[in-house]
Subunit: 266 residues, 2 copies
């Protein structure tokens, strides 16, 4: 909790008085790059521990509104599609629980001009139920900024994750599992690929999400049968006849199909 | 809140001191009978309003444990498969909010020997975030009992629902929508049908869940291709040759398929 100024401390304390105790929100922001799924993580200042972007819910806020605000405040990402996926409520879910952690927290609190440090301590030491939200974003369109509690904000490959705080690793796994079972109801390709892509790009994405390889012929046949792709003419260059076709999504049709599930069986 | 005895009142008050404020659980228990989907509802004593079975989370309980306990306490249903589906957190989500409701609550509280009626009132008037759980059960296997707050506990057809309290109607719709998008990952037939059934029974169930008709030939072909059904020999009675085949599930195979999704496209 490296607070920058006295104002900041008072702002933070006022915020804690304004939010619901015992309930937080954590966001799993997924992107796709170089055939890898990546997640946006924040590194705690002064620690070699990373966390999902998260925060608290104002008394005057809906859960969804809070999730959007938290994501924007903590990463600079505005107006992206966030969807709730699960609420985590283990009885021992506390970010500060051991004697040494409590001592460390209270020590830190003394260094800052909090008006009621005991109250802040009690709030932060409480059991927290947390609701998980996830988003699928085009990685190259965002330039995330660390917030005041974090020294870094980075995309990390799911294949090489750093150590995460608390149960954040479990929350992340649950988000991935949710996306996997909801593939037919989520705008996977539209959210994660750039505007134009090859059939191979699309297949790679599904293979990464499903964590297994798919038959190329079957994939192409089924995907084309959905009637949600537009095929673009090849550019007239010397090598063009060897280049694969580029596709983009027919967005209205795609969205229409998603309503009932695109019915794609893998 | 028709409490039966002084003991009961003290027990209820002690319970409120033992649970997390501002967070509740509501259970959507779905059954299937006579080609209709039904939901288990409780009727509030002295009111013509119905509610989902719900309750609070003990400080010492995981969210999942609380859901199981609440369901058992409020309906008599033990050891059934409950799954979390969504958390509802509108900022105005309060069961007691208008001036007249608050007056009615405080009036009621005065009639019972609460030790700290103001505290009970504050607890019950708070904003509540609620986590929804759903279950699929064989309707004829359960004989639900109303609890002390309820005068009736009944299966109600989704086609003819009574008026529900708060946002319970929205919670119910959200549960149905969740089941619809998770059909390939839920033991639908195994949970809702009796042990033996005809292909038509199975198709009817899916048609009711999806709320649309399915092609008979396609359904049978795809269902058999899944290799999760056992066909039983017809009984040697006079009419047997006209009777449809009876099936049951090959449970280990069914469960194995469910892990990756049964890949059934409707």
């Amino acid at each position: 909790m490296a607070l920058r100024s006295e104002d900041h401390v008072h702002q933070f304390e006022a915020h804690l008085n304004d939010v619901i105790p015992g309930h937080s929100i954590d966001c799993v922001i997924l992107g796709y790059h170089d055939n890898e799924l990546k997640v946006l993580l924040l590194r705690r200042k002064g620690q070699d521990l990373w966390s999902l972007p998260g925060g608290f819910i104002r008394k005057s806020e809906d859960l969804d509104t809070a999730a959007t605000r938290i994501l924007e405040e903590r990463t600079g990402l505005g107006s992206i599609f966030l969807q709730q996926f699960y609420t985590f409520g283990g009885q021992d879910r506390r970010s500060v629980s051991s004697k040494s952690e409590i001592a460390m927290l209270n020590n830190m609190l003394k260094q800052y001009p909090f008006k009621e440090p005991d109250k802040v301590s009690a709030f932060l030491r409480d059991r927290f139920i947390t609701t998980g939200y996830f988003a699928l974003v085009q990685l190259n369109k965002v330039s995330p900024q660390p917030d005041f509690m974090s020294s870094q904000c980075e995309w990390k490959s799911l294949k090489a994750l750093p150590e995460l705080i608390l149960d954040h690793s479990h929350i992340l796994q649950k988000a991935i599992a949710h996306v996997q079972t909801q593939l037919n109801y989520l705008p996977i390709g539209l959210s994660l690929l750039s505007k134009k892509f090859t059939m191979q790009d699309l297949q790679n994405l599904y293979e990464v999400l499903l964590n297994r390889s798919l038959d190329r012929g079957n994939f192409q046949r089924k995907m084309l049968a959905l009637n949600i792709l537009k095929r673009h003419e090849k550019q007239l260059t010397g090598k063009a006849h060897k280049a694969p076709y580029l596709y983009s999504f027919d967005v209205p049709r795609y969205n229409e199909k998603l309503k009932k599930g695109i019915g794609f069986s893998f």
